[in-house]
Symmetry: C2
């Protein structure tokens, strides 16, 4: 049965599944997969730490997955289709799926930024668009999502 734990007991990991040309943008991003630690399957809850200079992701918009962010420490910058907005601890933002509002957070400060990210897990149906780069994420015939170029060829 469920037992509460401190977030520091859940492993913090770096790394990304992005193709190699896009590794640098998220090299300073580290995540604790809090929801996975309790075997949750319907949504993910990640505690993300961005080192100075790092981005949470490439700017992206999901077709089928709602997303939500709450800042806990530091002052990351939110980037959406409308431009930029500074965020401070206690600020929140949500992204309903299928709006095309492509978003990410970047840390332009000299100290770490920490925030919680919640996102639906709809990996067999979700298509993710990346308006700023030659990248597209879509499920293949086997139901697994793969990174493609915008012309549909594989990375």
């Amino acid at each position: 049965m469920a037992r509460a734990v401190d977030t520091h007991e859940i492993e913090e990991r770096g790394g990304t599944s992005y193709p190699a040309p896009f590794h640098a943008a998220v090299a300073g991003r580290f995540s604790r997969r809090l929801g996975d630690a309790f075997s949750l399957t319907q949504f993910g809850v990640n505690l993300v730490r961005l080192a100075p200079g790092a981005a949470s992701s490439l700017r992206h918009a999901h077709s089928a997955e709602d997303e939500f962010v709450m800042v806990l420490e530091g002052t990351p910058t939110l980037i959406t289709n409308d431009g930029e907005q500074p965020m401070t601890p206690g600020m929140v933002v949500g992204f309903p799926c299928d709006t095309g509002d492509a978003h990410c957070l970047v840390n332009r400060t000299e100290v770490d930024a920490v925030f919680l990210v919640v996102g639906t897990k709809a990996r067999d149906s979700d298509v993710c668009a990346y308006p700023d780069v030659d990248l597209h994420l879509a499920p293949g015939r086997d139901g697994r999502r793969r990174f493609l170029r915008k012309d549909g060829t594989a990375w």
Copy 2:
């Protein structure tokens, strides 16, 4: 397009949909519906404040909705099928659906406790069991969930 806000800009509300005999347990519970404020429909994200003596809910287990809790302020007590566990800021716990592990948080201290609750919205299929009281929540033929007594009669 999405604009981040401080949680204090989102209205805090009390009240409950429980039948009248169960109002007292959650009378000191107040919530800001953070996810709803951004029109998210796949999961809820509520910032919950428990006054001294209040409970987050009656102890319950969902059949179809994963749940996740992160404590931000105060020291609420987690109650599950296994008994009680104190929680402190930075502690998290998750409840995969359909395990039967009935849970709630209660505030036995003299100061407010504040935590984030994330839960899937699967209201047309979710059945919620309340092992400690004569209560059951299940969808009717119209797809809407209703509170029933354990013998199936309406409250």
